[in-house]
Symmetry: C2
Subunit: 421 residues, 2 copies
């Protein structure tokens, strides 16, 4: 059920950049959530966050530029972290050590140790550490999840996805001192933003619950797109002469314990329409995002050209396969940014804290998804050498139940738990 009114939850909010505006707004739309403290490194942003809370709730929250002040507040039970990529983990660790549950925006890790630090701290403190991967709750992603769990694709074999978003004008903005993505593109070279596509795929493949990611290899193209754009659009600025390390296209292949392969694409500095490039294939069928189509053997039509066998049909032909959560969400009223998925992932975090249930994206998911970034950097630096992906569950993945009876479950128990109400 979407939105089950729960006990009042006091939340601290850290990070009020562009993304923070949307996420704070999602929290403020929930009657059972009270944002009692807000923080940003920059005073002006912190003040803006405070004003946003006061305007919406009528209560002025505690406002600070030092997140540790929020962690010291006894009534704060959960912290939502929407800061720069590099700071998520250290703030999350500090928050868990202070006894707070953590909902953390998406990012990739800088080191494996950073991922292990999250895992060990969550284990030691018993706190939740959930990556707020909104795309796990995308309408199409959830329809595919539903179809996979119903067996429509048969045994899964291969999945693809990408973060394919022309960010040249965003990365090329002049306000460098507040722009962490720009810093990352100048200095790093890897799959720096894997989770929008990998999160939903990992849930399809039961990663960390009966399956795991074993190894990956990454390859980087040249880096020319951003530089070419800067020369035209930022003439005379230092940035237009700055060397860009981040490849225009990074391709990453991942092998899973149960034999599935995953192919990821990072594609952010060339002109293109937006796409997460989803593709799921099993022994019974295929779905592709880029033509919004599927072919399920025995269900979809055959091609008129016999040698082609199957024919694509629009996914939209099959509203009967929509995920039950999204059917309820439509009745409840889709809200918030990114076509409604921001609200759902935030609500999943809030209700898991309220009810003390396992988060649908737990610390093992969070750590293993983030680890792809630093591992891809290592692979590229070593000429696309394969590198091992750690088992952050310390072997528990072989017997962890793929069914997690949680609110907003990202598996096939959703209907069993809530569908019959």
């Amino acid at each position: 059920m979407v939105y089950r009114e729960g006990r009042k939850l006091c939340v601290g909010f850290v990070g009020y950049g562009h993304r923070g505006v949307a996420q704070l707004s999602a929290l403020l739309s929930m009657p059972d959530v009270q944002v009692v403290a807000v923080c940003d490194f920059y005073q002006d942003r912190a003040d803006c966050a405070g004003a946003a809370v006061a305007e919406k709730s009528g209560k002025k929250p505690f406002v600070t530029t030092d997140y540790r002040e929020i962690l010291a507040m006894p009534d704060v039970e959960a912290v939502v972290i929407v800061t720069s990529w590099q700071t998520h983990a250290r703030i999350a660790v500090a928050a868990m050590k202070a006894g707070k549950h953590v909902g953390m925006e998406v990012s990739g890790a800088s080191s494996l140790e950073e991922c292990w630090h999250l895992v060990r701290t969550a284990e030691d403190t018993g706190r939740t550490c959930m990556m707020l991967e909104n795309c796990c709750y995308g309408k199409v992603e959830m329809q595919i999840l539903n179809m996979v769990k119903k067996g429509l694709f048969g045994e899964l074999v291969h999945c693809q996805g990408g973060y394919q978003h022309d960010l040249r004008s965003e990365i090329g903005r002049g306000d460098k001192e507040r722009h962490y993505r720009q810093d990352n593109f100048i200095s790093r070279n890897g799959e720096v933003y894997p989770t929008h596509e990998l999160g939903p795929i990992a849930k399809l493949l039961d990663i960390n619950r009966g399956n795991r990611m074993l190894t990956l290899t990454s390859m980087a193209s040249k880096a020319v797109g951003l530089h070419e754009w800067l020369k035209v659009n930022r003439p005379g600025e230092a940035l237009s002469e700055t060397r860009i390390n981040q490849a225009d296209i990074v391709t990453t292949m991942i092998k899973c314990a149960n034999g599935e392969t995953i192919c990821l694409l990072h594609d952010c500095s060339l002109p293109r329409p937006y796409s997460r490039g989803g593709r799921v294939q099993g022994t019974k069928g295929i779905w592709m995002e880029d033509n919004a189509s599927m072919y399920i053997e025995g269900l979809s039509p055959l091609s008129e050209r016999e040698w082609e066998h199957g024919a694509w049909e629009p996914l939209a032909n099959h509203p009967e396969f929509e995920h039950p959560l999204w059917k309820e969400y439509a009745e409840f009223g889709v809200r918030g940014e990114h076509d409604g998925m921001d609200y759902l992932v935030m609500r999943a975090f809030i209700e898991s804290v309220q009810n003390g249930t396992t988060a649908p994206i737990d610390v093992y998911d969070t750590a293993s998804w983030m680890a792809i970034t630093c591992l891809s950097e290592a692979s590229i630096a070593m000429g696309s050498m394969p590198v091992a992906i750690p088992d952050f569950t310390d072997g528990e993945w072989v017997r962890r139940d793929p069914l997690t009876p949680s609110c907003y479950a990202l598996d096939d128990v959703y209907e069993d738990l809530y569908g019959k109400e």
Copy 2:
């Protein structure tokens, strides 16, 4: 110009399986070609080939089950090889040594030495060795080639393609003893059929003429699709209990000397619509086959959602970018199998022999494209280790002219040579 009547060319034809029927038919439709000898390992097929020639030309050709008898015929100037994958190279080498020019069907190599053997023999004998990669002459592939050479995509960065064809019912046929693809799927595991997508991509990237493929890494999924199909469709037959080595999905990443990346997919044992999965990206735009769309900066429309930037538009919106060869071909009359491209590639071979010009797909192209197969097998066997791709030009690629003034040129000299006639 499509079809420039040339001097009479006597051709020997080797291999009359399913593919041979189509290719012989293409040859027999050319008034300046005389098929004087035909061969197949199986007598019944050889006889069929002889009958086909006699019926079409009125002249009964020499018919044999031993191709060496054809190589001994002085009047045979060129040999077309349409046999099983594993036999192409050895027959081609023998043919060149016998002074014949070779047009050879597509395949992947079993060893690098096999590729070098082709190269050294072609160099030593001065004979043509052209892979008849029909997809280089596909209508859409040639439109993309034309657009790339006109600079519409800017500097190229990344290309993708695949051989994505549900072949379960073909591979799972019972007539094992004549079915080389089945043997390959049972025994091998790699990118066994790379050239339909790699050929056109290599031409876009000037491979072996100013650029080259440096290294690759391949990853194999589990192999379950074919086995599952056989259990249902061939119950009780030994084949349904045979272990299949070939992965359902093989993904291969290739790095080029000028920094471009190529991603290939082999996908032949899962249910799906046919697609060669083409994708080309540069600093000015993108094309994708699967949605039949493109986005060229400054030409294509923008998305209504500002953060998405570009919007897809159908490639069909731009007939002005069709390749001039295909415009002429439409007037001449599109003919033969595979939407007309079979005829074009065969004609390209014939006219290059008639005129003594460089073949548009030369022995270096042939060898480097075929080499992907055995290199991908090696990479997979070693856990996706990167492996080096040989430079079959012995360093000449750095100064070989990307413009090859040949008939049916696969570069941008086509219009200069023929467009003004």
